[in-house]
Symmetry: C2
Subunit: 130 residues, 2 copies
DNA sequence: ATTTTATTGCGACATTATCGCAATTAAGGA
DNA sequence: TCCTTAATTGCGATAATGTCGCAATAAAAT
């Protein structure tokens, strides 16, 4: 199935490329000025994931976040790393340190999803009165 | 708030204790013979998590799984480890190897959620004709 | 036995994500 | 440039998971 270059696709990809953190569907919808339908955003994102342009991270809040992840996508290397989700500001960012997981014999890994949640340094310093 | 010892609570806890893998709400509802309301099951499980009797794991399918996790709960040690979710049979099991995550300065970790999904050895061997 | 209040069951609700289908529109060829 | 094809979109409906309010129930203590 050939991909087409639509405005929605371009807008979402640009947004993800320029964003330092992973974005959820509603973050994307909130940021983007064009009015793109909810279902379309999901479909565009799912296509990106199929094409391995973007990584899908499932948060410990059960929501999906999408990240361009230069490190892991462009280099096409399997650089498994954690993401940190701040429960205060909602930001989901890469923790660059690589993580290795050893599976028992006969197990096949298809997806890695490592999430740590808590308070990011920005929110922590705001809270303590900075 | 004092806890009471109800039949639902006992049944669910026994099930989790005797189960080798983490269970989702619908697994629990499917296994348990007594007819317990969906909301009740969730509430019992949430209480267990509050009391740190049970650990909540959020799968990369976005669903919550609950595990008694002898290693991490009884010993009250923070033994962060991954869980493996088989996308074929649905089983979610502990990978015992401990994982350490280094956070940047000023970050606070409140929750660790490491999931690897793929095919477990049982399903893999079935598939290849065993 | 009576009181207190944690717990349950039921239904409604919230949220996240997907799907079917008709209408658009990008891309390639005439 | 116009036409054709089929990928994509928008809309509404739907699925799935989880929570909440409230009245009824029942565990625990007096």
């Amino acid at each position: 199935m050939k991909r087409r270059n639509t405005d929605s696709k371009k807008a979402i990809l640009e947004l993800l490329e320029s964003s330092k953190s992973a974005l959820s569907h509603d973050m994307i919808q909130g940021i983007i000025s064009r009015n793109i339908d909810r279902a379309t955003i999901y479909r565009v994102l799912n296509r990106f994931c199929e094409d391995k342009i973007v990584r899908r991270i499932v948060g410990d809040d059960g929501k999906q976040y999408f990240a361009y992840c230069i490190n892991c996508v462009e280099k096409k290397q399997k650089n498994n790393h954690f993401h940190f989700r701040c429960t205060q500001c909602g930001k989901v960012e890469c923790l660059n340190e690589e993580v290795k997981v050893a599976l028992p014999d006969g197990y096949e890994m298809h997806n890695f999803n490592g999430i740590v949640s808590g308070i990011c340094s920005d929110c922590a310093s705001l809270r303590s009165g900075e």
